[in-house]
Symmetry: C2
Subunit: 212 residues, 2 copies
Amino acid sequence: MLLYSEADICGMDRRFRTNFMNSLLGFKPVNLLGTIDEQGSTNLAVFSGVVHLGADPPLIGVVFRPHTVSRHTLENIQKTRQFTVNQVNTQIIEPAHHSSAKYPRELSEFEVCGLDPHFISGFKAPFVRESRVRLGVEMVEIIPITHNNTSFLVGQIVLVEVDAELIRDDGFIDPEKAGSTAVAGLNHYYSGQLQKVLPYARPLPDGLKLAR
Amino acid sequence: MLLYSEADICGMDRRFRTNFMNSLLGFKPVNLLGTIDEQGSTNLAVFSGVVHLGADPPLIGVVFRPHTVSRHTLENIQKTRQFTVNQVNTQIIEPAHHSSAKYPRELSEFEVCGLDPHFISGFKAPFVRESRVRLGVEMVEIIPITHNNTSFLVGQIVLVEVDAELIRDDGFIDPEKAGSTAVAGLNHYYSGQLQKVLPYARPLPDGLKLAR
């Protein structure tokens, strides 16, 4: 094992450090966030910092990095208070990744990436037609994280559209069947292979330990 | 495609809703959080809500749900201001999952799950020896999310220990080689298979679109 101290981390070459830090947590979910501005221009950006916050009410959190192209997304959400979250599957890895290129505001990433905007009646923000699991989300609050100038957005899920064949009887949405992807680092995209399904964990009787 | 409105979501059977909501984002990272209390009792708990917040300074965020066993983890962090984050690999899926069982505070999940605590000089909180990527983290702040009574903890990475053979020359830590796992829903554990490595995305020349 190699041990890195805080000083070692600070002293890392910039590119090495970025790759290293971004791969420490392993696999991260990959989702496309769709927004629209008040002039009707759509925007699409890929995010690996979306996190489940709770099922009741149905909440998610999104990390917004400072000074990146994704600020178009945050600005649109601040104005319209709406966005969509669209799961990236193995069929759309390239266009999803390309949405991170820094395009001017007036150019829609839907257009340049070749993805189809899809609208649901009563909801302003655009969904991604090629995605098989897509959420309509309303902004609840934006929490500034002053330590590094990022923002943490809390959003409430108000619409869900899912390919019917992915939903099991118990409500589970099968990510392997959906071709869902995960990202590690900044640019390594993975599919998943089921290893184990485990029952709800209950304490063992007194004195027993889990068999290895 | 099936469309669920907010009313449909509210009306879901409780168990269906939990599974459904927890699988909407696809693959989530799985990490074991190690802590110690002031009496020296160690604690270990599995988390799927750890998120990268930034590389400089090296920050992560952790979502803490209300009223769960993981509160032992949060209470210990509030007292000692330290915790460890240990990647779960395919070799330790069962013991990692079992750490979510509700054991009393005086019983260490290291002991009942059969995982070895590992200490690094100068750092109080216990690491997991069976993990191949482990982080020592110091608490920066805890942000209450009032909308659903969860907490978002911001932590700074001060130690990293990684199996040397997993680190590439550019700093990337290979999750496939590490046997890293992802979770979907509450209890489906996956390994990852590399699909694509893509270069840093730059805008295409004017008028060009990405080929499909």
